[in-house]
C-alpha cells in the first residue's frame, strides 16, 4: 500500500533513487570535500625506551595521545640537521589547539643509546627547552631501535667513524590509535602546517562519534586530504 502512496517508493523510482544517491554522494565528497582528514598511512611501530628521567616509555603508553616524533642524538651539532627548534616552536603553540581530552605529546628519539644516558638526555632536554610534561626524550637498545626507527618509521640513520651520525631529518605524526598520519621529510616543516595537521586529527577524534563517523570514513575512502 505505502509503495503506491509515496511516489518515490514505486519500484522503478526506488531503483533510480538507490542508484542516484551513492552517485550524488560520491560526487559531493570528491568535489566539495566537506570533511578533510589526514590519510591513515600505516601502523606505527612498537618500542620500549627509557626517557630523560629514567622512566619507561613505550608506544602503548602513548595510546590516546597524538604524538609528533623527531629523531636525532644529543651530540648533534655543526653540520648535523637541527630539528629541535621546530619541536620547541610547536610546544610553545600547542595551547592554540584546544586538545583538552585528546592530549598532544612530543617525543624525541635518540639513535645514539651508547652516549645518550638519561643524564645526557636530561641535559639535552634543558638545552632544547623541553617541557617535561609534554615533550619526552628517550632512547633504547640499539638493535631494537634499528627495527623500530628504520623498519617502522622509515628513518635512515647510520653511524660515521668520527662518532657522528648521518641521517635524514624526519618528523612523524601518529594519532591516538597508533596510526601514522603524516611524514615530514624535512628539517624545517612549517609550524603552521604541523598545527593544522594536529588540529585535523583532534577534530576527527572529537567529531567522528555516532553517525558522523560514516562521513569521516567516507572522507578517508575518497581521499579527502588537504594538499
Amino acid at each position: 500500500m505505502t509503495a503506491s502512496v509515496i511516489p518515490l517508493l514505486k519500484p522503478t523510482r526506488l531503483l533510480y533513487v538507490m542508484i542516484a544517491l551513492p552517485v550524488v554522494g560520491i560526487l559531493a565528497f570528491t568535489t566539495l570535500r566537506p570533511i578533510q582528514v589526514l590519510p591513515r598511512i600505516t601502523l606505527a611501530p612498537g618500542f620500549s625506551l627509557v626517557d630523560q628521567n629514567g622512566a619507561r616509555l613505550t608506544n602503548e603508553d602513548l595510546r590516546g595521545r597524538i604524538v609528533l616524533y623527531n629523531f636525532t642524538y644529543a651530540n648533534c651539532g655543526g653540520a648535523c640537521p637541527q630539528t629541535s627548534a621546530v619541536m620547541r616552536a610547536l610546544q610553545n603553540r600547542l595551547g592554540e589547539i584546544d586538545a583538552g581530552e585528546i592530549p598532544v605529546a612530543l617525543v624525541t628519539i635518540s639513535f645514539d643509546p651508547e652516549r645518550d644516558t638519561p643524564e645526557r638526555l636530561r641535559a639535552y632536554a634543558t638545552q632544547v627547552g623541553a617541557d617535561a610534561t609534554r615533550w619526552r626524550i628517550a632512547t633504547g637498545d640499539a638493535t631494537r631501535l634499528k627495527y623500530a626507527l628504520g623498519g617502522g618509521f622509515n628513518l635512515y640513520y647510520a653511524p660515521n667513524p668520527d662518532d657522528t651520525f648521518t641521517f635524514d631529518p624526519l618528523f612523524v605524526l601518529v594519532d591516538g590509535w597508533g596510526i601514522v598520519r603524516a611524514y615530514y621529510k624535512t628539517a624545517t616543516p612549517a609550524t603552521d602546517r604541523l598545527l593544522r595537521d594536529l588540529r585535523l586529527i583532534v577534530d576527527e577524534a572529537r567529531n567522528s562519534a555516532g553517525a558522523a563517523r560514516y562521513a569521516y570514513e567516507a572522507a578517508h575512502v575518497f581521499l579527502c586530504s588537504p594538499p
Partner: protein, 158 residues
Amino acid sequence: MIQVHQYEKWWIGLSIAVLAVISITVGVAGFMLGVQVPVPEALVNPNTVAQSGNFSNPGVRQLAPKKYEVYVRAEANPWKFRPDKIEIPVGSTVTFYVTSADVQHGFKLEGTNINVQVLPGQVSKMTATFNQPGTYDFVCTEYCGVGHQNMFGTLTVK
C-alpha cells in the same frame, strides 16, 4: 512507450553489465587487493637534483635488516641510471625513489610490478619484495633521446 527491439534490449543490458563489472573490478583492485597507482612522492628541482639531497649521492641504503631504500637518478647524455648496479640480500623489501635530472624517462624492473614514469621535478616511489635470488634487469621505457637503448641496469638478489 517506445518499442525497443529484443536484440537492442540485450545490447543495452550487456553494456550496463560491462560497466558494472568494470566498476566492481576497479573497486576490488583498489580497496581489497591494495593495487596502487604510482603517485608523486615529492617534488624536486631537476636542475639541482644532481647537486644536493639524496639524489646527488644515489644508491642503496639499509633502513633495517631486510629493509632497504634505493635512490635512482635517471639522466640523458650520457643516458644512464645512477646507480645501474644494485645488490641486495634475498628476502629484502626495497623502496625505490626515482627521479629524472632532465627529460622524461621510465623505470621498469623486470619480474616485479614496478613500471613507472620518471618525470623531471617529480619523485616516483614504488616498493617490491625480493624473495627469489637472481638478476633482475631494469630498463628505461620512455624514448628519451638517441642513447635511450643504453639506459638499463641490473638488480642482483643473493
